[in-house]
């Protein structure tokens, strides 16, 4: 009896997550301005860095970048987009809350988890699309992976998993901060400096020592470097860093799931 009831509950959560995910994804497709802005912006960003900075940076690149900035930039950009692409999780939930949609959902006999799972899942799917598009543009401009297709796919997986983890943090922001502008400020105050003080655009070696210490160990650098390792091969990085990454990500999961389950209760 209890087992059928819990199986029923699980089935219900599955259906409801599907319903909410579909609803969120439809917003991307049917509000084309949002989709266009959110796909064009990362690509423009990428081209800007490639052509504006590329020439000047060439000389400072490590050998595994094959002397081409694009080899350095693309894996970095994928890490950066994964972070930026998680911001809509905060906006989406905040909107739903402001417009009374969360209240409506919470008054229904639905699986409580579906609202958060559906939101983070739809943002993951959206991120997959955006990262895929960026990679395609990168390939068209000359980026090639040097560590087999498996390495490339693993890199995408890592980037998306990172983005998913960020989505869950964004969900926390979206539900705890009421004011949309404050959320925007909070996100950009953290995300922009974090991206610029990472290895996303430039190697960290030229930074002053104190900053380098931070830049080398902050999560975006770790992810960007892991992506470089996976796409360009072992030579791209000190082996230690790659191994370190394997330990960090699974270790991070329980830490992230704590605010998440807290939120599920709040919902």
């Amino acid at each position: 009896m209890t087992t059928t009831a819990s199986a029923h509950r699980r089935g219900r959560a599955f259906v409801h997550t599907g319903v909410i995910t579909r609803r969120n994804l439809l917003a991307n497709v049917r509000l084309p301005d949002v989709l266009i802005l959110s796909t064009v912006q990362p690509v423009v960003f990428m081209l800007m860095f490639l052509y504006v900075f590329g020439g000047a940076i060439q000389a400072a690149l490590p050998t595994a970048a094959h002397g081409e900035y694009i080899y350095w930039l693309i894996p970095g950009i994928l890490a950066q987009s994964a972070v930026f692409g998680s911001a809509p999780t905060a906006y989406g939930l905040n909107n739903d809350r402001t417009n009374g949609v969360l209240d409506r959902f919470r008054s229904l006999p639905m699986a409580r988890s579906a609202v958060l799972t559906g939101r983070t899942l739809s943002d993951l799917i959206r991120n997959t699309f955006i990262l895929g598009l960026q990679l395609a543009v990168g390939i068209a401009l000359g980026f090639r992976w040097h560590n087999g297709l498996g390495g490339m796919l693993a890199a995408m997986g890592v980037a998306l998993a990172f983005g998913f983890a960020c989505s869950r943090l964004m969900a926390y922001l979206g539900l705890t901060i009421r004011n949309t502008e404050a959320i925007q400020a909070a996100i950009y105050m953290v995300v922009f400096p974090m991206t610029l003080t990472s290895s996303v655009f430039l190697p960290t070696q030229t930074m002053p020592g104190w900053l380098q210490a931070f830049a080398e160990h902050q999560p975006i650098t770790v992810i960007a470097n892991a992506l470089r390792g996976l796409t360009l091969g072992q030579g791209a990085l000190p082996a230690l860093l790659i191994r370190g990454f394997g330990v960090r990500v699974p270790g991070g999961a329980p830490v992230l799931s704590r605010p998440y389950s807290h939120l599920a209760m709040r919902l």
Binding site: H16, V19, A27, R30, G100, R104, L108
Partner: protein, 318 residues
């Protein structure tokens, strides 16, 4: 009177900022009634709706909806209720039908049953023609109707409507009223909050007036009006004579209704009070430009009960 389907017993709720939204409120709402909740802004109406809809826990007191305790068995309560909040919680990017169907799926209906009921509900609210257009093309009234329709798809026993016609044009308002009456006729209990006193007067079988989280009075519209003291005399005078008139009418306890710019006197003795008023004015050599004797409206009830707290609200109600 039927057994209450909603029982609120000595419920209190205080918010973190120290605001006491509900202060020992007790209410019993009979099955199948349209029940109006009146009160100025901040009276606790929305807080009560949120507690009944399991969105908020009361600090103390017991709340039962359809026999289920909202704190101990919120999931069972949710099976029985529908909520249309203060905002039309509909998605712009979905069509009207998709919005309704989404809620149907979340009520746990199968795909087929959802489609069938969505078609019924869309007919009911007279939106069959527009149902397959995206909601972003809808008027405010249409959005409200879709929002209400979405809460109907689960066929709730109890429907909560928080200011259902705020900011809605008169035609849509009439449509919504019709819908609420039909639902009540079919046995759905409807609890609605409103700032429009005529809405409560027209629609509600019983009315509770609350303020500062406490019950001020409760009953049918007629009972409330009678309790306020029956008829009133209304006098209109040229602006420069008004002060003199107020002084002259002092024995009859006049008050100046700023919104209609009239002097209002309680008229417990009906026409006799009117005669006395005219006599007093005559003595003071004042002549009213208009005179009326009528039974109190809900506005008068409301104003009398909440005058000290929110005179501005009564002005907003038509």
């Amino acid at each position: 009177m039927n057994a209450p389907i909603i029982a609120v017993d000595a419920v209190s709720k205080q918010f973190r900022g120290g605001t006491r939204a509900l202060d020992g409120l007790t209410l019993a709402i009979p099955t199948g009634a349209v029940y109006g909740l009146l009160g100025p802004n901040g009276a606790g109406k929305t807080t009560l709706i949120r507690i009944l809809a399991t969105l908020l826990r009361p600090d103390s007191g017991i709340v039962r909806v359809a026999g289920h305790d909202v704190v101990r068995h919120p999931a069972r309560v949710r099976e029985c209720i529908g909520l249309a909040g203060q905002f039309a919680a509909v998605d712009d990017h979905l069509t009207g039908r998709e919005n309704i169907a989404m809620i149907g799926r979340l009520y746990g209906l199968s795909r087929r049953e959802t489609a069938r009921r969505a078609a019924d509900v869309v007919d009911r609210i007279h939106l069959a023609d527009a149902a397959d257009r995206q909601v972003k093309t809808y008027s405010g009234g249409m959005r409200r109707r879709i929002d209400l329709a979405a809460s109907l798809i689960g066929r709730p026993q109890v429907l909560f409507l928080d200011e259902p016609t705020a900011g809605v044009d008169p035609t849509s308002r009439q449509d919504l009223w019709h819908l609420v009456r039909d639902l009540a006729a079919e046995g759905t209990t409807v609890l609605l909050t409103t700032q429009y006193l005529d809405e409560a007067d027209q629609l509600a079988d019983r009315i509770a007036v609350i303020d500062h989280g406490r019950l001020l009075t409760e009953g049918t519209a007629t009972e409330l009006k009678d309790r306020t003291g029956g008829a009133v005399v209304e006098l209109d005078l040229p602006a420069q004579q008004r002060q003199a008139a107020m002084t002259a009418l002092e024995p009859l306890a006049p008050r100046h209704d700023h919104d209609r710019d009239r002097i209002v006197l309680p008229a417990p003795d009906g026409a006799l009070t009117l005669r006395d008023a005219l006599r007093l004015l005559d003595h003071a050599e004042l002549t009213p430009t208009d005179v009326a004797l009528h039974r109190p409206t809900l506005d008068d009830v409301f104003l009398t009960l909440t005058r000290h707290t929110a005179p501005e609200l009564a002005g907003r109600s038509a």
